[in-house]
C-alpha cells in the first residue's frame, strides 16, 4: 500500500514538475527585475585630504553597508555626490567603487581649464550612496564635510627612494674622494673592453675604418651618455692610430653631442686637423631607415670593427648579422635587456647590462671613475643583504619589513 502511494506521489510529482518549471519561467518573464528593497546605507563615512599629492583630490572612507556581501546582498557598489554646500547642490561624481571596497579617492583636474577642475583650499561636502541593481533603489549616507584638498611639500611614500639616493650618493662621493687621494682600486678584466684596443690596432693594420653606432637612444638616455664616454676613448685611440672613424646617428642631439665628443678626442690626441664634422653624421630618425643605411655602410665600407654601444631595439640583430657578414669584429653593449641575447649570439664580445656602464671607467682607468665602480659594488652587496633579509621576513611573515619596501608611487 505504502509502495503504491509512493509511486502515485512520484507520478504526480513528475506530472507537476514541468508545470512548476513552467510557472517559475513565467515569473521570470513577468518581472524581469525583481523588486529590491533599499539597502542599508554606508556608515562611519570620513573624508580627508589625500596624502602625498598636489591636492585636487580627497579620500573617502566608510564602513560597508550591512547589505554589501551580507544581509540582503543587494549592494553592487558605491557612488559619490559632492557639493560646495552642506545642504544643497550635490552632484553625482563620475567614478564608483565596486562592492566590498571601503575607500575611494575622488580626484579632479589640476588646472582651471582641465576637465573636472577641482580647486584646492575649497570646502567640499560628500554623500556616499550605496547602489543596487535597480538604479532607482539606493540609500545615502549622511552628509560629511567640510573638507579641503591641499598640496603637500613632501611625499612621505617616497622616503625609501630618498634614503637610497642619499646613501648611494654618499658612498659614490666617498669612493671618488678616496680615489682622488690615490687609493689603489682593483677592477676585474672586461673582455669586451680589452677587445676595443686590439680592434683599433687591427683596423690600423688593415687600413679600414671603425664604425661606432650609438643606437636609438636620445641624449637623455643614460646608456647613450655612457656610450659618449666610450666613444670619446675610442675616438682618441683612433686619432692616435690614424684610423678612420664612422659615426652614423639616429638622433640629431646625439649627433651634436657625438661631434663635440669626437672633436675633443682628436684635440686631446693632438690631431685636431684630422677631424671633420662629416665623420659624425645624421641619418634619419626612423628606426629601420637608419638600419638600412648603416647596413649599407657596413657592406660598402667594410669596417674592421663595429662597436654598438647604447640603447638598441629590434635592429640589434639586423645590425650585428650584417656586420658579421662583412667580416668585422663586433663589440656590443646595451641597457635593453631584451636585446642582449641577440648581441651575445651575433657579436664577438658583448658587454652585458651593467658592464656597459663600467666600460667607460675601465677604458679610462681614471681613479675617479673607478671609484664609482666600487660604489656600485657596495650597492649590489647592499641589495643582496636586503634581499636575504626580505626572504627571511617573508618566510616568517615580518610584515613590517615587507611594508617598508612596498614603494609608494
Amino acid at each position: 500500500m505504502k509502495f503504491k502511494i509512493m509511486i502515485l506521489g512520484c507520478l504526480l510529482l513528475a506530472l507537476a514538475l514541468p508545470a512548476l518549471a513552467q510557472d517559475s519561467v513565467k515569473t521570470v518573464e513577468a518581472s524581469a527585475i525583481p523588486a529590491i528593497s533599499p539597502p542599508a546605507p554606508a556608515t562611519n563615512v570620513t573624508a580627508m585630504d589625500s596624502p602625498n599629492d598636489n591636492g585636487h583630490s580627497l579620500t573617502l572612507r566608510w564602513t560597508l553597508s550591512a547589505d554589501d556581501g551580507a544581509g540582503q546582498k543587494t549592494v553592487l557598489g558605491y557612488k559619490f555626490l559632492r557639493s560646495f554646500f552642506p545642504d544643497s547642490g550635490f552632484v553625482l561624481r563620475e567614478g564608483m567603487a565596486p562592492s566590498g571596497s571601503s575607500e575611494y579617492v575622488d580626484m579632479g583636474g589640476r588646472k582651471p581649464d582641465d576637465r573636472d577642475f577641482m580647486p584646492n583650499d575649497t570646502d567640499y561636502y560628500y554623500i556616499v550612496r550605496a547602489i543596487t541593481a535597480d538604479s532607482n533603489v539606493y540609500s545615502d549616507s549622511p552628509v560629511i564635510g567640510p573638507v579641503k584638498a591641499v598640496g603637500q611639500l613632501y611625499n612621505v611614500g617616497r622616503t625609501l627612494v630618498l634614503v637610497f639616493v642619499l646613501c648611494f650618493a654618499a658612498i659614490t662621493i666617498f669612493f671618488i674622494r678616496r680615489a682622488r687621494k690615490g687609493a689603489k682600486l682593483f677592477v676585474r678584466r672586461l673582455a669586451g673592453i680589452e677587445a676595443v684596443d686590439e680592434a683599433i690596432g687591427r683596423a690600423t693594420e688593415m687600413g679600414k675604418p671603425i664604425l661606432y653606432v650609438l643606437g636609438l637612444g636620445t641624449a637623455a638616455d643614460i646608456a647613450t651618455i655612457a656610450s659618449f664616454t666610450i666613444l670619446g676613448r675610442v675616438a682618441k685611440k683612433v686619432a692616435e692610430y690614424q684610423t678612420g672613424l664612422i659615426v652614423p646617428c639616429y638622433d640629431a642631439i646625439v649627433m651634436t653631442v657625438a661631434q663635440e665628443t669626437v672633436r675633443t678626442a682628436y684635440l686631446d690626441a693632438g690631431r685636431p686637423d684630422a677631424y671633420n664634422d662629416d665623420m659624425v653624421y645624421y641619418v634619419t630618425s626612423n628606426q629601420f631607415a637608419y638600419v638600412a643605411a648603416v647596413n649599407g655602410t657596413m657592406l660598402r665600407q667594410l669596417p674592421a670593427t663595429n662597436i654598438y654601444m647604447g640603447t638598441f631595439y629590434a635592429e640589434s640583430l639586423l645590425l650585428a648579422e650584417t656586420g658579421a657578414l662583412a667580416g668585422s669584429v663586433q663589440i656590443s653593449g646595451t641597457d635593453q635587456v631584451a636585446q642582449i641575447p641577440f648581441f651575445v649570439v651575433a657579436c664577438d664580445y658583448t658587454l652585458i647590462g651593467e658592464e656597459l656602464y663600467a666600460a667607460s671607467a675601465y677604458l679610462s682607468r681614471e681613479p675617479i671613475l673607478l671609484g664609482s665602480l666600487k660604489a656600485q659594488d657596495y650597492g649590489k652587496a647592499a641589495i643582496i643583504v636586503i634581499s636575504i633579509l626580505g626572504i627571511i621576513a617573508s618566510q616568517f611573515r615580518w610584515n613590517w619589513f615587507l611594508e617598508l619596501f612596498k614603494a609608494g608611487n
Binding site: 519561467v25 521570470v28 518573464e29 524581469a32 527585475i33 553592487l76 557598489g77 564608483m96 565596486p98 562592492s99 541593481a133 535597480d134 657578414l325
Partner: protein
C-alpha cells in the same frame, strides 16, 4: 674542403634560401598539421562539446584589435562550434574598441554556418543563424568591474537593450535567462586586465565555470587559477588558438600560422644541428690529426 667543413661554413645565403622556400611553400599550400593538444585547451573544447542543444554559453570579448592575431582565431572557432551544435550564445564586449569587431565576427560566422559542414566526422546541416534566437550581443559599457558584478544580478541591469538597440525582454532566447545562473560557462577572451576582473568580480562571486583565452605573453600568469580550480581551461596565444582549431577540426588562421611556424622552426633547428655535427666531427678529426 671536406663535407664537415662545408657543413660548418655554409654560405648563409643557403640558410636564407631554405627559410624563404619553406615559408613560401607552407604559406601558399594549405595543408593541416597535427598539433599536440595541451590539457588546458582540451578542457575548454570538451566542455563546450559536451553541452546539449539550446544550452547557453557566454562569450566575453575583451581584447583590442591590436591583439587580434592571437585571439581572433579562438573567437571564430568557439563561436562556430557553438552555432553548429545549436548552442545559444551571449556576447559582451567590455573593451572600448571591441563592439564593431565582435559584430563583424558574428556575422562572418553566421554566414559560414549557412553552409553544410563536417567536423570531426560529424555532419552538420547548414542553418540560418538569427539574432535574438541563436545569439544576443549585449554590446559595450564602461567600468568592466561594475558591469561584471551587475550581470551577476541580471543581464538587463547594465544592458537593458542589446547592441542593436532591441530590449532584451523582446529577444526570444533571453526569455528564460536572467543572469550567470542560466549560463553553462563563461569564455573570456582577453588581452589585458579584464581577465582579472572576470575572476575576482565574476567567478569568485557567482561561481560559474570560467575559461580564459589569453595572449601568449599573458597566459603563464594565469596557470595558478587553473590549479586552484577557478578557471577550468586556458588557451594561450597563437598556439592555444591553433590547438583549439585542431580540436574543433576547423582549421583557420591560427593553424595556418602554426604550420608556417612549425616548419620555419624546424628548418632553423636542422641548420643548427647540421652546423653542430660538422663542428663536432671536425673537432674530432683535428684532435686525431
Amino acid at each position: 674542403m671536406n663535407i664537415f667543413d662545408r657543413l660548418m661554413t655554409l654560405d648563409r645565403r643557403w640558410v636564407f634560401l631554405f627559410v624563404a622556400l619553406v615559408c613560401v611553400i607552407t604559406y601558399a599550400i594549405p595543408f593541416t598539421i597535427k598539433l599536440n593538444k595541451s590539457p588546458e585547451v582540451k578542457a575548454v573544447y570538451n566542455f563546450i562539446d559536451t553541452l546539449k542543444p539550446n544550452d547557453v554559453i557566454f562569450v566575453a570579448v575583451d581584447y583590442d584589435p591590436s591583439s587580434l592575431a592571437e585571439l581572433h582565431p579562438m573567437f571564430y572557432a568557439i563561436v562556430e562550434q557553438a552555432f553548429r551544435k545549436h548552442l545559444k550564445v551571449i556576447f559582451s564586449a567590455l573593451s572600448q574598441n571591441g563592439p564593431a569587431m565582435v559584430d563583424q565576427v558574428i556575422k562572418a560566422v553566421a554566414d559560414s554556418v549557412k553552409q553544410d559542414g563536417t567536423y570531426n566526422g560529424v555532419f552538420y546541416k547548414g542553418r540560418q543563424i538569427e539574432d535574438g534566437v541563436d545569439y544576443t550581443f549585449l554590446g559595450y559599457k564602461p567600468y568592466p568591474a561594475l558591469i561584471i558584478l551587475a550581470m551577476g544580478q541580471d543581464f538587463r541591469i547594465p544592458f537593458p537593450t542589446d547592441y542593436y538597440g532591441k530590449p532584451l525582454d523582446s529577444l526570444p532566447m533571453m526569455r528564460n535567462i536572467r543572469n550567470y545562473d542560466q549560463v553553462k560557462c563563461v569564455v573570456e577572451l582577453s588581452s589585458g586586465s579584464s581577465s582579472d576582473m572576470w575572476i575576482t568580480y565574476g567567478q569568485s562571486r557567482y561561481n560559474f565555470p570560467l575559461a580564459l583565452g589569453l595572449t601568449g605573453v599573458m597566459s603563464a600568469d594565469y596557470y595558478p587559477y587553473l590549479n586552484s580550480g577557478q578557471v577550468f581551461g586556458i588557451m594561450g596565444g597563437l598556439l592555444g588558438a591553433a590547438q583549439y582549431e585542431a580540436l574543433a577540426d576547423n582549421p583557420g588562421e591560427a593553424l595556418d600560422g602554426m604550420r608556417i611556424q612549425v616548419y620555419a622552426h624546424l628548418v632553423i633547428i636542422i641548420f643548427i644541428i647540421m652546423g653542430n655535427i660538422g663542428f663536432i666531427l671536425a673537432r674530432r678529426k683535428a684532435r686525431k690529426g
